[in-house]
Symmetry: C2
Subunit: 80 residues, 2 copies
């Protein structure tokens, strides 16, 4: 079963990568871009077949390794 | 209006970041993780109010800056 994890910076945390993208888009002539925030997207293939257990396991992985919960939020979505 | 962009490596392209995550999860005692792929997730705030035009603009941004279309796939989703 597959898990999709989105990790984004919390509101208020400075995002220099996003700022750099917004600046680069402006330089390339793309107007009207107010704000850009960059996060991470992780796809995991799990041997677990029970959706609830898979979600709990990935939640645990996020807390222990994937996300820095001081400055980042994460969402876990389990599919198929 | 907001646009959500997912950028992932194409199938077959080596993903050392994903491999490192899978290895680290194994070391932490998380078994049953078959494969991990890491991608990017970008949120853009756009001044454009027409969904079709916004999508076309972000598609263009992906081709010109955000994604390396030789090795990466991207998806654009326009919301609210």
């Amino acid at each position: 079963m597959k898990a999709k994890v989105h990790i984004t910076l919390k509101t208020g945390v400075l995002d220099p990568q996003g700022k750099a993208i917004a600046h680069a888009l402006g330089s390339l002539g793309f107007g009207g871009v107010d704000e850009v925030r960059q996060g991470k997207y992780i796809e995991l293939d799990l041997a677990e077949t029970d959706p609830a257990k898979a979600k709990a396991a990935v939640d645990d992985m996020c807390k222990k390794l994937l996300a820095n919960t001081v400055i980042e939020n994460y969402t876990v979505e389990v599919v198929g």
